[in-house]
Symmetry: C3
Subunit: 664 residues, 3 copies
């Protein structure tokens, strides 16, 4: 198995390189990522290239049997380039230029930057395309990071108009699709079209400035497509010189780029995983779902290109990972499909923006607890390599993530507290805490293999998806819908159908009216699995053929249906019309999964523990991860052997704090 670090030889005196390589070898490291921010060092002056330092570093590392992932250095165009092409700087929605001094200071649609990209990438790919040490390419670095997906410059304006012309063909078609008749916003020509930049704003809507929701959704799609196209430009350039696999390091739940689209052109996906981040709450489920989404983008295993190796942060520091957590998180990655883990970074940098980003070594190069834990992890994973590489997660449940829906929800989130990504995580967490492995996939993926399909808040809808889901359920699948399903057309206009629109027939219901719960209001509900409280939203349901399995017990709609289930062909469609409290949702989802024939991996769930069933070439195994800082006992059915301790396990399996078990 590949086990590595991000390494920046250019940051350190050459005298240190050899010792660094020794440190790596001792920690079982066999792979480093190099050069993804090295443009100024590779091309210090326009047209003057210098690969000698990188050649030397790769050569030295190879002597320690360490291979290389090579980054294209486009995330940091040097100052000499920017001074020649100041038009490359992105512009914010107020038209203000974002200048030099950080990274990603370029517009994806700028022709001069695209040309410069072709040149530098070609040079690097030409030089290293067939190098025996190079095992893969990383294109650029963390597309969209630091709010760089959205730019409002002249290049973007022209590109947006072109993108729209290609999509709609005629300006009349665009006007009709967007409903520009509203507020006299009719466009007579492509040249009249705007970007959704700063406009007359309102305290009620400081973000979107009241722009047409269909225009705004198209802009978000366009911006995502611009990133995909820019990545494609790099991939095509590399392919002229190299046959090595190409990846990009994604960012888990990052919401601005459609990762299903971005993944299509890549040979494999990798991502950057920092569970403990300053100013962000910690949840192992957040990382778990991100892993599953990354696996889902291509429906196959992935790499973790950057795995947290210590406390981190730009200006403030996160909590320090506790003893055992670095190892635990590495196994969590493996459990969810990682075939390679590279820690970020080898050693904390002594200068620059990320000098607080701790590596497996501190600034003083003294190997301490974190180094030793990673060393141990490296040794273990090496021994387990046959089990890990090529293994598959055995999930009977899938959850759909839709970026089009995400963006629509961002533009008009229905309720102040509604958040599509949080709703997905809430449903995902409920399943994970019941030890039910989940695939996170696109609506375009094959659904036939799942017994249970979750489709939370799928509000943008069209007839193709209706046909697909209809077929899925009629063939015996169980589909779970929630409030806000089918309320809109795919162009972000409202559906003319009675809510839940295209879902109405299969769900056997109509939504008579709804109530958006503001100012902390809660509504009580009686469900088939006990009483509950609802927040954020309540649909008041009129069943046409569905059975009621939950109704409201307060407010003016007391007694009205809140949750229903409908038999549809050989399957079932559940409709959950309100946002249930976590405990009630837990009970309800267990009820639904039981009724859909999905079997949990543990009869009595244990909080804070992940259980993932995997298989590899016919051999099944169970990975158990204890995210608690205390010992737990799992009441397993059957007899196992723990591959890590080599001990036999009968029913009661004891996992130490932050402990891991791999049971066959």
């Amino acid at each position: 198995m590949k086990f590595g670090v991000a390494y920046y030889p250019e940051h350190w005196p050459k005298e240190m390189w050899e010792k660094d390589a020794e440190f790596m070898r001792e920690a079982h490291i066999n792979l480093v990522r190099l050069a993804e921010f090295g443009w100024a060092k590779l091309e210090p002056e326009k047209g003057c290239y210098d690969f000698s330092w990188l050649d030397e570093a790769i050569e030295l590392l190879s002597r320690y049997s360490i291979q290389v992932v090579l980054g294209t250095p486009t995330a940091t165009p040097p100052k000499w380039f920017m001074d020649r092409h100041p038009e490359v700087y992105p512009k914010d929605r107020y038209g203000i230029t974002r200048g030099f001094g950080s990274r990603r200071h370029y517009c994806f649609n700028n022709p001069a930057f695209q040309e410069a990209t072709r040149e530098i990438v070609a040079k690097v790919a030409e030089h290293y395309g067939d190098h025996s040490s190079v095992v893969a390419w990383q294109v650029d670095n963390e597309f969209g990071c630091q709010e760089t997906t959205y730019c409002y410059c002249e290049s973007c304006l022209q590109a947006f108009r072109h993108w729209l012309q290609k999509k709609y063909g005629t300006i009349d078609a665009l006007n009709h699709a967007w409903g520009t008749i509203f507020w006299s916003q009719t466009y007579r020509d492509w040249d009249e079209i705007i970007l959704p930049a700063y406009s007359v704003c309102s305290g009620a809507d400081p973000i979107n400035h009241g722009h047409n929701p269909s225009l705004t959704l198209d802009y978000k799609r366009f911006a995502s497509d611009s990133v995909v196209a820019y990545q494609k430009l790099q991939i095509d350039t590399i392919r002229n010189f190299s046959a090595k696999p190409i990846t990009h390091n994604l960012m888990g739940h990052f919401p601005e780029i459609d990762y299903f689209d971005l993944a299509k052109d890549l040979d494999f996906v990798s991502w950057d995983n920092y569970p403990e981040f300053p100013k962000r709450s910690f949840s192992y489920l957040d990382a778990a779902m991100a892993h599953d989404l990354m696996r889902g983008t291509k429906g196959k295993n992935f790499w973790v290109m950057e795995q947290q190796s210590g406390p981190c942060g730009w200006n403030v520091l996160s909590d320090t990972p506790k003893p055992g957590q670095l190892r635990l998180w590495s196994y969590q990655a493996v459990a969810h499909g990682a075939e390679a883990i590279l820690y970020f970074r080898f050693r904390a940098c002594r200068f620059g923006t990320e000098q607080y980003w701790y590596g497996i070594l501190d600034h003083d190069s003294v190997p301490r607890r974190r180094y030793k834990e990673i060393q141990q992890t490296g040794a273990e994973l090496k021994a387990l390599s046959d089990w890990i590489v090529g293994s598959k997660v055995m999930a009977e449940t899938a959850m759909i993530k839709s970026y089009d829906n995400l963006w629509s929800h961002q533009i008009q989130p229905h309720n102040v507290h509604f958040d599509y990504q949080k709703l997905l995580l809430k449903y995902y967490s409920t399943l994970a805490e019941n030890h039910l492995p989940v695939d996170v996939i696109s609506i375009d993926d094959d659904l036939a293999k799942y017994k249970l399909l979750l489709l939370p808040a799928f509000n943008l809808m069209n007839s193709e998806i209706k046909v697909k889901l209809d077929r899925y359920v009629k063939s015996g699948g169980t589909l779970v819908l929630t409030f806000r399903s089918g309320t809109r057309n795919w162009d972000n206009t409202m559906s003319a159908l009675t809510i839940p629109g295209e879902f109405s027939e299969m769900a056997g219901i109509e939504v008579e009216e709804f109530d958006s719960l503001n100012r902390g209001r809660q509504v009580s509900v009686a469900t088939v699995v006990g009483s509950a409280m609802a927040s954020i939203w309540c649909d008041i349901i009129k069943p046409t053929s569905a059975r009621v399995i939950g109704d409201y017990t307060s407010d003016y709609y007391k007694g009205e249906p809140a949750i229903t289930v409908n038999d549809w062909g050989n399957g079932k469609v559940y409709y959950i019309g309100c946002d249930l409290d976590p405990s009630a949702l837990d009970g309800l989802m267990r009820y639904i999964s039981d009724n859909s024939g999905v079997s949990p991996l543990l009869a009595r769930p244990v909080r804070g523990v992940e259980l993932i069933r995997k298989e590899n070439g016919g051999r099944q195994f169970l990975m158990a991860l204890n995210h608690n800082s205390h010992e737990v006992v799992l009441d397993l059915k059957g007899d196992y052997t723990d591959l890590l301790t080599k001990r036999e396990v009968h029913s009661n399996f004891v996992l130490p704090p932050f402990g891991v078990g791999i049971l066959v």
Copy 2:
């Protein structure tokens, strides 16, 4: 009585129009507002006008006996116009242009836009000026909405200088009035004068940037005057072609335009009323006071041009109005002086920024609970038309609202928690909850007819007003003043007189010193009606001729007077030197109203219930509105008949949840 909706035929296929008209007729709708955002449809190219679609719609509606209020479409200049005149876009205080994509994207002072306004308004007025269906004109739409009152463009700068020249005559007079000697801000010429835009700011004052308070107040007056002048331009244009009454839809408590000024040029006032709004707390008293202010702007009945018809919001939705509330709010409007109610809107729009703004029909055109409730309301109001149209609120109490004072308070609010509008609402609420109807009027209005006059926080003061109030009190009126009265001159400089300045003599007091209460401090007070807590502000009073009816019982001014009353001629002047807690203010205001001969409509007030006494051509009647979600019993004196139920009422009158009674 006029009963209507906002309708946008241009948003819907013509095939739907006939059915829509039938829906309207069934709901007793006899009026629609049309075309106020229709510029791009009426003039799709410069100089090419198309009235055919609107002619057709009006014609069809007339066949269903539905009349028309016609809007001038200036709130949404089309893209083709803006591309020719980009200088029309407003600029924010940082000099950044607010571009296309929302509405109201124009500067009131821009000459090109004023010219274009004249042209399009003339065309529309010429075409429909004598049309038999057209009963009134609505000029533009919601002036100032979405923070569009204040613009900092070159046109505004020039217009401001001109406005000042007209006001002050000489630059020396301006320098003297503003006190520009402070901080060397002397202007030598009109061309040196600035707008109060972005300047060297301070965390202590991010809004006003430390600008001269007199300059800032004049800028706010100028901006309000600019709107009034722009409206006048439209009115004059329409009058060349039409004799139909002209209105504009105001926005209740909106603070940026002096609505007394704006109302002067209108034949009648109308306003847009949304009691349940997302991200805003709900209070029936807020709407009640807004109704009274709207009536007060011209001292006569008004229209509700937009009345909430369902949940609403741009990106998030409000709570859904509960069964009975749409009807209740309609009666509330009528009780306070509405002679016409138009719901916004007929049907929720399927596209554009307001697609979450629910009409009396949902997106699917299915008539549901809200449609039926409005249908019932329409039938009832039709039967009550004779009572409603021409009726008058019988108020013995008046409260002064002063926009000049409001703006002065905004510029320097004395205390972090001081808010003039909230203080007015607090006093208004205290009276309303004691069932004492109030007129909300200007200081320029006739005061003689009121027994009790409230003048909260009237800090800008001049000698004309002193003479007027002196006459009012000496003739037997009761005047209630509060802390911060008379501290300033009308030009927003501080008075050289001892506080409360011009009020000192009639109040019989001097304010020895004051204490601004920060960081949650509260001070205890003993009053003639019990003990109380004061927040925000404490005046320490030295009576000259007044009697003390409240003194402080804590802090270093323990024992000093807090509340006084002074006999002045045949009347009385109360001075309330601190911000009392609501319960204490309730007691005190009842004490004051009792002593001023104002009789409450109910001996024992019932919370959440409005009682309004009205008269129409000599006939008196009582409107009772229950805003509670529970039943209430009112202990009325005397015998009545309820016009709605036709039942007789003796003493104990039962009102159901959200119920209404009209008692004669």
Copy 3:
């Protein structure tokens, strides 16, 4: 002793001047500050000077034996000047110009403004340089106030490049010092260097935009130096015409200018002291430490150029100072080293931004409580003048304040809740509440005279300072270090040494790892003086030669050392590895001060009371200040006479609320 007010004769009719002077004389006022905002009045047109009004005012005041501090009027360049030189306006980090209307609307580095400064200062200095009434000069007013230290205009860019060239000599040296190899930020020429303005930002770092920390620190140093250089320009100009002492009014804890640098060129320091400020919490210790810092900037007594004289604020008002507080705060100033106090201001202004800034007279010129209290204070201080002028604070303890460290902490504050200035105040307060007088000094000052030296969070470090501190401790001094000491080099890069870097040897420890405590986490600690809770930060210490006097009792580092002490030569070095709760820190600092031979002035400390031991020409005296609103009794050792009451004091000394004692 000098006792004065800020006075603005230009704001008032000449008819009032004589009466004003009488008021002043009655209050024992012998000094006024004049003309610091008078540019437009002194030079109403380019090149036309008018000193007549100021001559007249000074002449009149001199007849009442009132002398003058004269301000140079550069804080408010007039509109006629700005219209000729709009490039003088400062630009914010977004490149937006901050326009006219407030004050300080100039860039320190603008050549045109520097030239204009030379002209106006020369004219004023020439006219008044030898005037018998003028006792001192105040240069400009409150440098940096209203966020004006940092400007991002073209002049600043050029000046910054020049400043860097002078500092680094070669561009390679700069690149190496900053570590620009990180993120390809290498500069090839001085002309490529940027200001740390708006760049690609991140929610994680909206302030610094992820700029290189070494560049940002140099920019902050450059900005501070720019102010110092601009002040020098004025001082040099004045010196051509006048030999009178020159000062500037500093702002206590203001963080943007290195006040040790700024003080160097001044003859004495003065500062503006507003203990009660709106939107800021009140603490007498805040003012106490600011006084001590002001004294420390030059190591000698100072003036209070503006002392609060009433409620104040721009748009909202602070609490009103309670009876006794104005007098108390005056004595607090004297206790900490003030030799002159000027109240701001004589009378509240009737116009302009500061019309809420209350003087010793209100707007109506009626002498009230505040006037009388200041009158009493003036009489008392006059009698005490011999004791006050030339007196010295007798401090055995010093605390280091380092602006370089402050700025480094601002750029990367380690933890969301870490604040260098608050940490200093926390340590200062602990000492002050134990009645241990403190000098607040620079690391460049002489340390030998102190028994105890506090060096909180001194993270930037170099070898010169190491040598100096080494010598201090070895000679018998006690040094107190905290977490985050010695983590960085002086150029704001991370140290390659094991934490605490240069301090490691003398502290006898290494920091094995650390934990940044986020999301409200707390860790328990057992110390030599009892149990405690730690927030924000925990260093996990490995003693090399130190003794442990506190260890953690929770979390994964339970049992590990948290606080240590090391014998070093004849002295001791304490290392406090975590942020202790105030009560525990109180105990620990008492323990440390006891062990370092520093004797507290009171055996049993009394909260809210300051005790300062002073000496003057060999005579010692004790100043006791009761900041409580209640009476306190101090258990003094020995017999005293209170200079204020002339009473003898034996052991139990009673201080009334807000009372003062001066005991000899």
